[in-house]
């Protein structure tokens, strides 16, 4: 930016030498102390046997070796990974269909758009508890299932049904958020494309696949990236629906639940929890790169 005005600003600096840093200081301080420093200290702690009240010693990769033999770690990794597999396709496709449904400006549509967004606004704790009650053995969903003759289902007592129910809640809460992202993308799809396709005799399904999907492809990749990272880090839904110990025999524990359970409290194993956190970082970054790479490969 060889802007002459900019160089004049540079001259001001001589009068107020500390001013720019004064502006940035609070933000840098908070970010440094509460985000970047904890990040570095997580990496360092993962190589120690530190506990909440006991400063640790360097133990090399012992924590990571322990991980490999820890059944709970594999359970957590399995559940968090399954969460990505179950949640991401639904969150890429369903909000797009929802966006198509609310795209046309028919009377009352702003009301529907807002109503569909309500689950996003509510706290995950509220949402979790609402669904715990809905899916209860004696709750509304089971009452309805019984009324139509299917009979009651133990959504919250079976290990796999519990995980599936939690995934459904995550999708339910995320629909409105990604719907808004897709609405913005759909607004940029030129109408001429749809009309040309219609003239060529393409029906709605064909137009959806040949016009809409290619036009919002980059948004779909963005949604896939955002939702896969969020899904892998799932904590609250499963914590609330399966309980702090992670369902029957802890079989529904996710990786972040394990981090929370291992690292907090007065006897928390900070070193081991940090090693678990490092796994969370690595998988998160890997997921991002994977999604972005699939994107590039499809393009070429």
């Amino acid at each position: 930016m060889a802007n002459p005005a900019m160089s004049r600003v540079t001259r001001v600096r001589r009068h107020l030498p500390t001013s720019p840093w004064l502006f940035a200081a609070p933000g840098l301080l908070i970010t440094g102390v509460f985000v970047l420093y904890p990040f570095v200290s997580t990496l360092v702690n993962s190589l120690t046997d530190r506990r909440t009240l006991i400063p640790g010693h360097f133990v090399g990769l012992a924590n990571f070796r322990e991980l490999l033999h820890d059944d709970m770690f594999w359970t957590g990794l399995r559940n968090s990974s399954l969460y990505v597999v179950g949640v991401v396709p639904a969150l890429v496709i369903l909000p797009l269909l929802l966006a198509l449904l609310v795209q046309k400006n028919i009377p009352g549509i702003t009301f529907f758009r807002s109503a569909f967004y309500t689950p996003v606004v509510a706290s995950i704790v509220v949402v979790g508890l609402i669904w715990v009650w809905l899916l209860d053995e004696r709750g509304l969903v089971n009452s309805l299932l019984e009324a139509v003759g299917i009979g009651r289902v133990g959504f919250l007592s079976d290990q796999w049904l519990l995980l599936l129910s939690a995934m459904a809640v995550t999708v339910w809460k995320g629909l409105g958020y990604y719907m808004i992202i897709y609405l913005a993308a759909l607004a940029n799809v030129p109408r001429e494309l749809h009309e040309a396709a219609a003239v060529d005799g393409a029906g709605p399904v064909r137009r959806f696949l040949t016009v809409t999907v290619p036009a919002v492809r980059s948004t779909m990749v963005l949604v896939a990236a955002l939702s896969s990272v969020a899904a892998f880090k799932v904590f609250s839904e499963v914590y609330l629906m399966a309980g702090p110990s992670g369902g029957p025999a802890g079989e529904d524990t996710t990786l972040v639940m394990l981090v929370q359970r291992t690292g907090t409290g007065l006897t928390g194993r900070v070193g081991y929890a940090s090693a678990l956190s490092v796994v969370v970082f690595v998988v998160t970054v890997a997921l991002m790169l994977l999604v972005l790479r699939t994107d590039r490969r499809e393009e070429s």
Partner: protein, 301 residues
């Protein structure tokens, strides 16, 4: 998928005198399509808002009313606020609400002030290290909070701020993403106006406060709303940092209520309604900022 497939049936004959509803391009929408759209909208409405209404209904049902009946009764036969009184008797729910309000308000103030200042510094001021500062915020934005909560907790202990509301607020008090949002907002302003003010002798503070800041009110509103919502709804961090029940926020208090009185559905329902009602009211008043926030956050995040 059903959305699209069902729209397929061949062109409907245009009925004379049918309602003239048009889409955003001024084309008329056929009646059968309109009926189908509203039918689907109502189904989705029942699925998204229904659970909240069921919770509200449960919270208003008295102790003598059967809440487990099949088929279910959707409306309370004799609505009562009894369960809300019971919540207040069971946990100090109004103190928790006040704690949540304090935390959320503090989060709004610190995020607005801190990210506006830092965003202006990144967008407009020339100084050595500006690139490094921008990079620091970008890196911070990419760090997943879930991966550093344990280290944040030990840091908070070292500062003696664990188990305090200040400790709840501090880590997210100036969000890196908000700083970058403000930076982009400032960078998109035409520079000429500030240049003119500079020629007139305005210093950095004057240009920031009088010229730049009033022009980015929209983005600032987005930051404020998402800071409020984020703090009000947050669960993992307060769960880790707060251990003293007298300092709980609403979300942690609700978790406690559910953990202790899980079998009292009416009570838990009343608690969740207390926690969610303020945010739904806020959302109803300020919808467009919520939607703008999603757009801006998603594109830049």
């Amino acid at each position: 998928m059903s959305v699209v497939e069902k729209v397929r049936p061949a062109p409907a004959p245009s009925v004379p005198g049918e309602a003239r509803v048009t889409d955003e391009h001024g084309r008329r929408i056929r009646v059968w399509e309109l009926v189908l759209r509203y039918a689907l909208l109502l189904v989705v409405l029942a699925l998204t808002v229904g659970p909240f209404l069921w919770q509200l209904s449960t919270s208003l049902k008295g102790p003598t009313e059967d809440i487990f009946s099949s088929p279910p009764s959707f409306l309370p036969s004799r609505p009562t606020l009894h369960n809300y009184e019971r919540v207040a008797d069971t946990i100090p729910v109004w103190d928790y609400a006040l704690n949540s309000l304090k935390v959320a308000t503090a989060n709004v103030v610190t995020n607005c002030v801190g990210s506006a200042l830092a965003g202006y510094a990144l967008a407009r001021l020339r100084y050595r290290g500006r690139r490094a500062a921008t990079l620091a915020f970008i890196l911070a934005m990419l760090v997943p909070v879930e991966g550093i909560v344990i280290a944040q907790f030990t840091t908070m202990r070292e500062l003696g701020l664990n188990n305090t509301l200040i400790g709840v607020v501090l880590p997210g008090s100036i969000g890196a993403m908000n700083v970058l949002l403000m930076r982009n907002a400032f960078a998109n302003l035409p520079y000429e106006i500030e240049e003119a003010a500079f020629v007139d002798g305005a210093n950095t503070w004057q240009r920031f406060l009088r010229i730049a800041l009033p022009s980015v009110k929209g983005t600032l509103a987005v930051v404020a709303i998402f800071a409020f919502m984020g703090a009000w709804d947050d669960f993992l961090w307060p769960l880790i940092v707060l251990s003293d029940p007298s300092r709980f926020t609403l979300t942690i208090g609700l978790n406690y209520l559910h953990g202790t009185f899980a079998n009292d559905e009416r009570l838990v329902a009343a608690g969740t309604v207390i926690a969610v009602a303020p945010l739904i009211a806020l959302f109803a008043c300020l919808q467009r900022y919520f939607f703008r926030g999603v757009g801006e956050g998603a594109v830049k995040g």
